[in-house]
């Protein structure tokens, strides 16, 4: 068996031959690979080996990594941090209302943070000199009850400001490129940068969907029961229930965040490490999860639930009566007039509970990583130009009954 990688005019081929002595030659500048063999077994094995050989877990310089790095691929970094106290900064305004961040009052909280899992999607590009530049593109943060030991371990939401409900950080804004580029151009630099994004970039009230989950995920007692005794609210649940909280489906005000953080500050690292934190949603917000869930299960649910169907009709003033537009056969329902859309008299919360969307279940490392990949890596279709191989093909077209 021989395996040769030959270089001709900047193109290198691999030739594998059975019944020839062993030979193998590899050069860094390889363009094409060609295997020839009459022995399928060897050939398969060799290609397998070839692919293993050239599949590296990380092709970028790592630098000296901090302890806690769990995995590094060409696109993602996973690392964890043990429980620690962190300072959280909040400017209690929406970004649009902040004219000069330097002059704004900043509230700070010293929060005990449980085990943390960070998943970073990073990118690479070339600078004008052809050097590879590495940079964080998206960062996810989840809380854990212990260090990560397996892919099915449950992860929890970090109920912090400026995070989406799926755990993805809303990227901070930078006043200059220097701020962005001041980190070492290594995997370690990407980690350092991402960590600063999370903890040292400050926050505002633009995205309060995660602190909001502290209220919503433990307050649907009319529909389901969540044991809040092992949460941050175990001593404050009555306060929450009694006060007129300033929150909606999308947003909670600074008073709620301030209460959350001040309550949080009173616990120890050991206590917060054992808490049942809220669960992350699959998408960036609860209402997106709910919409997807409805698209999938609502029609099926209607078949079993007793519901009244009604329509929001138009009013014909001349005729002094209701009327409905005509249905156009070649137009999808969503593009038809609203009067043609059926309105079902269904308790949506009951639907969510009955179809197991609520209460929200903790997500696993595997499931959250899967959705993270789908969100952050666009599919690339441009793999092979078929015309490239046109001349090589000899088709055997067999006719059979």
């Amino acid at each position: 068996m021989s395996i040769e990688i030959l270089e001709f005019n900047n193109e290198v081929s691999v030739v594998a031959r059975k019944n020839i002595h062993s030979s193998f030659h590899v050069s860094e500048d390889i363009k094409n690979v060609k295997f020839e063999t009459s022995a399928p077994h060897g050939c398969f094995a060799d290609i397998n080996g070839m692919m293993e050989v050239f599949t590296s877990s990380c092709n970028f310089p790592t630098g000296i990594l901090p302890p806690g790095v769990l995995a590094v691929t060409d696109t993602h970094i996973v690392f964890e941090r043990q429980p620690e106290y962190k300072t959280v900064f909040v400017i209690p305004k929406l970004l649009d209302n902040i004219s000069d961040p330097e002059s704004e009052r900043v509230y700070t909280y010293q929060l005990p943070i449980p085990w943390q899992l960070y998943i970073i999607q990073y990118g690479n590009t070339l600078d004008e000199n052809g050097n590879t530049i590495l940079y964080p593109a998206n960062v996810r943060l989840h809380f854990m009850k212990s260090n990560l030991t397996h892919a099915d371990q449950e992860l929890y939401m970090a109920p912090l400001t400026n995070f989406y409900a799926n755990g993805t950080l809303c990227r901070p804004m930078f006043s200059s490129m220097e701020e962005f580029e001041r980190y070492p151009n290594t995997i370690a630099g990407v980690i350092e940068s991402a960590y600063d994004w999370v903890w040292n970039s400050g926050s505002n009230l633009d995205l309060t969907i995660c602190p909001l989950a502290m209220y919503t995920q433990f307050s649907h007692s009319n529909y389901y029961t969540v044991d809040a005794s092992n949460t941050i609210w175990k001593n404050y649940l009555s306060i929450i229930q009694q006060r007129s909280a300033n929150y909606t489906q999308y947003y909670c005000g600074f008073d709620e965040i301030d209460l959350l953080y001040r309550t949080w500050e009173k616990y120890s690292l050991a206590e917060v490490s054992s808490f049942d934190w809220p669960s992350n949603y699959i998408t960036t917000a609860w209402y997106s999860d709910a919409k997807i869930h409805e698209d999938l299960y609502f029609q099926e649910y209607l078949k079993t639930a007793s519901t009244n169907v009604r329509y929001e009709m138009h009013w014909d003033e001349e005729e002094d009566q209701e009327y409905q537009c005509e249905y156009e056969d070649d137009v999808p329902l969503e593009d038809q007039c609203y009067c043609l859309h059926p309105i079902y008299d269904v308790d949506k919360m009951r639907f969510y509970v009955d179809t197991n969307l609520l209460p929200i279940k903790p997500r696993t490392y595997r499931s959250t990583f899967q959705t993270f990949i789908k969100e952050t890596i666009p599919p690339t279709i441009d793999y092979v130009d078929p015309k490239k191989f046109h001349d090589l093909n000899v088709l055997k077209i067999l006719h059979s009954v």
Partner: protein, 501 residues
Amino acid sequence: MNTYLRIDAQDDPTLSYYSITHKRGATNEYLQRAYSEIRWRYGLSENDDRVLVQFKSLLKNKNFARLFGTISEKLAMMLDENIDSIEKLDLSTLPVHVELDIYNQYEIPLSNILEQCTRNSKENIPENFFPLAVRQILPNGNYFVERPPFQLEVPITKSSSVKVWMPWTMTAINKENRTDAYLFFGSKKLETADDKYLPCVFPNIYGSGKICFSNSLYDAGFDLHSAFDLRYTYSFLFNEYINGGWNQDLGSNLGQLFWSAHQFVNDLIKNKSHQQFPMIAKFFNVTKEDMKVSYPRLTDKAYNKMYDKIRGTWAMSVKDMYQYTFLALSCFSLEETLKFYEEVSLHSSNIARTFGDITKDLSINVSQTLITNFVKQIRSQSDISLNNINGTINIIFLNPQTSKFWNSWNADYSRDSSTAILSSCSTQVTHIINDFIAKAKNNISTNGYYVIDESIADQKQEIIYHEVDNGNYYADALKRYFNNTSDHIGDTDEYRNSGIQ
């Protein structure tokens, strides 16, 4: 009558390529592209959705993964289902049949394979987590794993043992050559590339820090060929080294420490150096009382005998050195142990190296590592003969990364002396290599590791030049290998290739 298409691998390289990628986790979009291409290739109309595609797995030839379906109607469902359910489709409803037989030859742009490998790595969720602290990863597959200090029980005699502190350790494990592991001692957690490390001074470690594993590594079931899992590999190798049993082989690191400390000991006797290196001073001057605390069975006679040997350091046997070292270190607290190794790093600069230098040394030989891996793949196929040479003029391709060779070089020469040799011959690298090749052709007694057709000898030389440029170590390695072949290739069954006979 229905049309039935059959495509053999040699006829359709692109599709075989797709089949590779399918098995390795291709995306739905990717498979759709494959189907689109099939349609284009066979002139099927957009409306012709009655096609059956059968992918035979390239990677597991005994386990043909099949993918059945129709192009449009069932494609979406098929791609969302797993393969088992796809196979349940009623084949009789699929009269157009495209069968991909990828058994024979094919040609694939390697760049596409590499691209797909990268893409697969993007799409795969990393589930084999690293061990506690991976501190650096090199592109050639070397992982550096750090471990905090821990206490270790070391047998002094057959029936007694002492406890010593292992300092911070840094283990280098190569993904492509898993038994090619190195162990270094550090006095603190790694912070910068300038931090100093010693090759582990305990037994069975080469001068380079490379671990010499015993056969128990394989007896214990260490799997070289399964998918790489760093946590498993590190755990296995580290525990194997610590618990697999030591012998008196390879005491050179400790010997270097004692040798470099000889002047220090002389100074110590003259009451110098106490202030600058208090822990080294303590190491060479542990009191009998202290030693008896950790090893109560120590007799006065044995203690005095040890100290006589310490005073004449280089007369000590390896056994004496280790016995003394473990007894002395058993009297050290963790802080003292770490301080001791820090002082040794400063004092014995001939064996201490910076982390940056270590990573630089282990960065070289990417292609050599690939070769090792490649041979591993070949050897895993029982039906492939490596001995059948059919009238080709051969030359030996040297693989300096081979453990026997590499170890010999490292064990026999300290870094300084090898550098000296290199400096004298590095200007004649071309000559050495040409000389080597010329003589190798006529050398019928070698157990050549790899052979290459003479027709590509130029490329081969190019490789060697490449390596020399990278490391400059191979010039010396080549020279020594050539002159002392039999000394450096110990086990003829290390590789099945018998080379030139």
